[in-house]
């Protein structure tokens, strides 16, 4: 099997660029809006699944005024940046704060909400301020304003670690479990979220002077229309009525919720182009150290899971072949179950569910356990097939020579089986390394997680492209090596 990586790259780029090269939209095409659904009270779902919230009401009204239907789709927070830049969505919203850095790559309408960050903890946990978090682990959403603030202030407050989540729900789950001591995020969302949860408490306002706005692509044709509509809606008092509806009070007259303010602009009006967006050298150089950190974590996790999975798999294979019947049935069940269960599901169970029975693993070890358990099941089948491929005569000759079971396995069977199993084992190793990327859902700073964080902070998808190149750089040689081995072993069958 020969992979032409250039062809693959072309297809990927075509896929990314498709929305941009498609024909200009007609005026009554829907405005596609991406939102990180679950971000209360801005955009979330009511019990029948309808999207509701402050920003949902706002964009629906804007659509109405512009005479365009609005189509809202659910996009994770850190995916919004690439989506808006590639034109996959027209507008991104999720209480996105305006930053200079983001303005280099995207455009914002005028802000409509002045916000700060906040610290949320479990009530009665003894933590009442940021000072209490010295040496503790804190949570934030990947690439959010809270993440940016926490990263900038990590040294000042002595946070042991910033653990990065894909939204409020999983972060709060870990706060409740106690794996992290506090969650740094937008104050309005957390005030709203903790309103009916007496075990949680917003203990500190972190003044960051954040201003929320709708985010659009730099070359967006509707940016001015949308911004003008927001001005009209503010003058009519509609926006402040939304504040009343969702927060129970009107915003003060001086805030951007109540009055029209200018649209933020960058000093230099960068014009959208492909290279600036996907292959931005400045962004790459800035985020490169983060990616290397992530790569290191990925490799550590991969090697640990591969080695542990090999040992587990060998033991399971020998048990399945030669143990007492009852043990064989159990081993078979183990192998079947863990080859059927999606790794992501297993990982989430291990990380979020096991703490309720008293087993609380760090993201790294949760990921290592999940990967090992699954890799062990696959490895066991590979070893079993390898051992079964050894002719019966080899076993009989060993027995007739009076070799013990151990000597037979170590000196005769396994050395021959290894040759058979090396190609499939290497394939399995490649899969394990790729699967480490799933660990980003349990807030582990692997290569993918670092890349998504970097792209959200820089509001530029270059780190993702860089991560893809890094994955390729060390997996492609392995893939080619396996292909070579398979060819060689096939040729050497006659030996």
């Amino acid at each position: 099997m020969k992979i032409n990586c250039f062809t693959v790259l072309k297809i990927v780029l075509l896929f990314l660029l498709w929305p941009m090269i498609s024909v200009a939209q007609e005026s009554n095409d829907p405005i596609v809006v991406g939102a990180n659904i679950g971000n209360v009270p801005w955009e979330f779902q009511n019990t029948d699944g309808t999207f509701i919230g402050f920003e949902i009401d706002l964009v629906n009204e804007i659509g109405k005024r512009l005479n365009r239907p609005v189509n809202i789709i659910n996009v994770p927070f850190n995916g919004l940046f690439a989506a808006v830049q590639s034109g996959r969505i027209d507008i991104a919203m999720s209480s996105i704060g305006i930053t200079d850095k983001r303005l280099e790559s995207v455009a914002f309408t005028q802000p409509f909400y002045d916000s700060d960050q906040s610290l949320t903890v479990v009530r009665g946990s003894g933590i009442t301020s940021l000072e209490d978090l010295r040496g503790q682990i804190v949570a934030a959403d990947t690439g959010s304003t809270g993440d940016i603030w926490a990263t900038a202030n990590q040294e000042k407050y002595g946070f042991a670690e910033i653990r990065r989540y894909e939204g409020l729900a999983p972060a709060m789950l870990d706060v409740v479990i106690g794996r992290v001591k506090g969650y740094i995020s937008d104050i309005p969302a957390l005030q709203y979220y903790t309103k009916d949860k007496p075990n949680l408490e917003v203990v500190e306002r972190i003044p960051t002077g954040g201003r929320y706005a709708l985010m659009l692509g730099k070359n967006s044709a509707i940016l001015n229309d949308v911004n003008d509509t927001i001005s009209i809606l503010k003058e009519e008092g509609f926006v402040n009525q939304l504040h009343l509806k969702w927060y129970g009070t009107l915003a003060e007259e001086s805030t951007s919720t109540a009055r029209v303010v200018p649209m933020p602009t960058t000093s230099d009006g960068l014009i959208f182009n492909f290279v600036e967006t996907f292959l931005n050298m400045d962004v790459f150089l800035q985020t490169y150290p983060m990616l290397i950190d992530g790569l290191f974590t990925t490799i550590q996790l991969g090697i640990l899971a591969i080695v542990a999975g090999l040992i587990l798999g060998l033991i399971l294979a020998l048990l399945k072949l030669y143990a007492h019947k009852a043990v064989r049935i159990i081993v078979k069940a183990y192998i079947d179950v863990f080859r059927s269960i999606p790794l992501l599901v297993l990982l989430i169970i291990i990380f979020y569910a096991l703490p309720f029975v008293g087993i609380s693993l760090s993201p790294f070890y949760a990921a290592a356990v999940a990967l090992t358990v699954v890799s062990g099941a696959y490895t066991a089948e590979i070893f079993r097939a390898g051992i079964e491929a050894i002719p019966k005569g080899q076993f009989e000759a060993s027995e007739a020579l009076g070799l013990s079971y151990k000597d037979m396995m170590v000196d005769v069977i396994l050395p021959q089986a290894i040759k058979v199993v090396i190609p499939p084992l290497t394939n399995n190793c490649i899969n394990v390394i790729k699967d480490t990327a799933l660990a980003s859902v349990v807030a582990m700073p692997d290569l993918l997680k670092q890349a998504t964080q970097a792209q959200a902070v820089a509001a530029n998808p270059t780190p993702l492209i860089a991560a893809a190149v890094i994955y390729l750089a060390f997996l492609l040689p392995l893939v080619l090596w396996v292909s070579g081995l398979e060819k060689k072993f096939k040729a050497g069958d006659t030996q």
């Binding site: 000759a397 027995e399 007739a400 020579l401 000196d411 005769v412 021959q416 006659t494």
Partner: protein
């Protein structure tokens, strides 16, 4: 001469199929016994029971040097006492010729590497293949491989050797070299049971010939008795079929 191997009412079933029926057999020390008979008559099954590569029915008994052949602690001693040479050689393809022969002295007998190597080189010389010691099995002809397999079996210094159709997988021109090695062993007084289709060989080296059919020992006696004056109809039919062509 004392009895080395003793089979008493040995039966063997594969499910409902009876592969061996009431086998009684005694092999004396130093005796060379050839077992002949049609395919599927149970010849191989019988000798494979002697070192428990096949399990036999509980009702019977096999003893080697008065030690019962059964699973458990005794089995190691039995297998050290009884060497086996297979139809398909079953050399270990990942080990050199020398390592193939050295493996069991080191692992089963606990010999040092140096001693095992000396034993192996001597045996390879005996079977005429010492100059190939560093090659791998795949680099040797079938006849050479089988001679290595014989050396490997001898390396445990067994009291008896079992040969399971040792020349059946060989090209005709290589049969001779293997039979010559076995003949030399026979002359040196090694106890042997040889399952074979080589009638000329059996007549020449056997002290006793056993004819089996349908899982039973039909007839046994000296080569002259069996080949020249067979008493049983089935023996006569078999010999007529194999000799007249």
């Amino acid at each position: 001469m004392s009895t080395l191997i003793k089979l008493e009412t040995v039966n063997k079933h594969y499910g409902n199929f009876r592969a061996l029926t009431d086998i009684d057999l005694e092999i004396a020390e130093g005796e060379v016994v050839c077992v002949i008979g049609p395919s599927g008559s149970g010849k191989s099954t019988m000798i494979r029971c002697i070192n428990l590569l096949e399990e036999y029915d509980k009702s019977g008994t096999i003893k080697v040097e008065n030690v019962k052949v059964e699973k458990g602690r005794n089995l190691k001693k039995v297998r050290a006492d009884v060497g086996m040479v297979f139809q398909n050689f079953n050399l270990f393809p990942h080990l050199s010729i020398l390592d193939n022969v050295m493996l069991s002295p080191i692992k089963s007998k606990g010999l040092s590497k140096e001693k095992a190597k000396k034993v192996a080189v001597d045996l390879l010389t005996k079977v005429g293949i010492a100059e190939q010691a560093d090659k791998f099995p795949a680099q040797l002809s079938g006849g050479q491989q089988q001679r290595v397999a014989i050396a490997r079996a001898l390396a445990m210094e067994p009291k008896a050797l079992l040969f399971d159709e040792p020349t059946s997988a060989l090209d005709p021109e290589m049969v001779g070299e293997v039979l010559d090695v076995i003949k030399n062993l026979a002359a040196s007084g090694v106890t042997m049971i040889v399952v074979t289709h080589e009638m000329g060989f059996a007549r020449q080296v056997a002290d006793r010939v056993i004819f089996m059919d349908a899982g039973q020992i039909v007839e046994q006696g000296s080569p002259n008795e069996i080949f020249d004056n067979p008493k049983e109809e089935r023996t006569r039919n078999f010999l007529k079929a194999v000799l007249n062509h």
